[in-house]
Symmetry: C2
Subunit: 291 residues, 2 copies
């Protein structure tokens, strides 16, 4: 089942490289929904992300928050693998597979409004490749270094093409001060091939702290110098859609304000997972749905 | 020589507390210079800081940068105690006592324009209590957690009153993305008494990573909730003056852009150091000038 040709080789060489993207960004340019218009679709294609202020209203956000609070309470002290802790404390950093394990978030992941945008961009049917709630607690939330999600999904999960996107729903206000996501606009057009091999069961550590699949400083500098860094910020209820290959990261959060978000990855049904491209065995289903 | 009364007890109790400030903020309200006006002085008094865009012009900044580059080159690989490294790498984080050891920065610290502002606020003669160049390298610059400088200077250096201020000269553009300083406006009116005792020679570790004199989360939350967080940003050459007791901190810097600054602390000659208030012996002269 392993592909003969790997268009996005990574973790196979001792030197990093910048490769051109070989896949479309927007797969369906004819509008077939009313959530976003042509100019927003063009913005997404050019920049690799689209930030929609107040996509969900206050009542919806209040419900999201109470359901998230319930989830967090249930997760405290849990030893389920789906519950990931902060590297230097026992605080919950993420809960995975909420679209599978929790009725409320299953329904949210299937929201027709979110699906409409995902299907427009990816063209046709999609499924949830990964879901999680990220809790970036106040004071102690650690940084996520720069990365392309696709690099990991390709290397460790066997995702063949760049035909997936992420959707991050802000459960708290995102500000310049609480570790909001930063993106490098346009970076989705380049694949940063990373050095080194993936160690077995790398995911157990990498969800807490990234060590492999880390882009090199020279490539990052090039990407930023040709563009810029942007930090889309807004009220709770805002939604950020971003391409699977756009370079993004976030700083630590030393403010008292948590920065939680619900995170769904939609993948095209035409882009089903194969054998991992740079890892001996695929990651578990709660991180990367294979069925 | 040890004072009988300690108006700002810290690191002496097992529980933190918030104490009211017992000292003025602006010691001389009658204008005696032309660098800042009455409204700026009032802003400083109310908020505990004052950010002056383009205080130094482009030519001056270019000179500052080349002199800083020279200093950094000289410091690489040095084992002088004045050279402090990043906690997780061999990169230089700070160089102390540049006003003492380096002719160029000695002159900069004595700039009549900087001194005019310091003398206005502190009323009368001042001297340099501490100086340093901070290098916050791109990609790897680590965070500085929230702290009041005065808490440390009082506990470890024996600074009796809140009659000192810091002046941070931006040597690079400060943005929302490269770990710029954050302040809690108004927090200078409260002293956060911290828990725990100061271990011997704490400074050797604390300059790399703070562990004692750390304000508690409850006090920080109160200070922020009664006010806000601000991040004064601007071009290289901007200057931030801030009160010795204002709560401040900064996030990590994962951007490719370094964020260096030259940092001078002016203390009133009426406020000379005594025995440390919460430590067995004073820190070395290169961290806190005693003569």
């Amino acid at each position: 089942m392993k592909q003969l040709v790997d268009d996005y080789p990574t973790r196979k060489s001792a030197v990093p490289s910048l490769l051109e993207r070989k896949d479309p960004v927007v797969y369906q340019k004819t509008l077939n929904q009313s959530e976003i218009g042509t100019s927003e679709l063009e913005f997404y294609e050019q920049n690799g992300f689209l930030f929609l202020q107040s996509f969900f209203d206050e009542d919806e956000v209040a419900r999201f928050k109470s359901e998230t609070k319930r989830l967090l309470t249930e997760a405290h002290g849990s030893t389920r693998p789906e519950v990931i802790l902060e590297p230097e404390s026992e605080e919950v950093r993420s809960i995975f597979a909420v679209h599978r394990d929790d009725a409320f978030f299953q329904q949210l992941a299937s929201s027709p409004r979110l699906l409409a945008v995902a299907k427009q961009i990816l063209d046709g049917e999609v499924y949830v490749h990964q879901s999680r709630i990220n809790f970036k607690p106040g004071f102690t939330g650690k940084e996520f270094y720069w990365h392309s999600d696709f690099e990991t999904w390709h290397a460790e999960d066997g995702m063949p093409r760049m035909r997936a996107l992420s959707c991050s729903i802000a459960l708290e206000d995102n500000t310049y001060y609480n570790g909001s996501l930063m993106v490098i606009p346009g970076s989705h057009q380049w694949f940063v091939s990373c050095v080194g091999e993936t160690p077995e069961d790398h995911y157990k550590e990498s969800l807490r702290r990234q060590q492999y699949g880390v882009p090199d400083q020279e490539s990052l500098t090039k990407l930023v110098n040709e563009s810029r860094i942007e930090m889309p910020i807004g009220k709770a209820g805002s939604v950020l859609f971003f391409d699977c290959n756009v370079m993004h990261g976030s700083s630590a959060n030393i403010s008292p304000y948590p920065r939680s978000n619900a995170f769904f990855v939609y993948n095209s049904v035409e882009n089903k997972l194969q054998e991992p491209f740079s890892s001996s065995k695929p990651r578990p289903q709660y991180i990367a749905a294979r069925s």
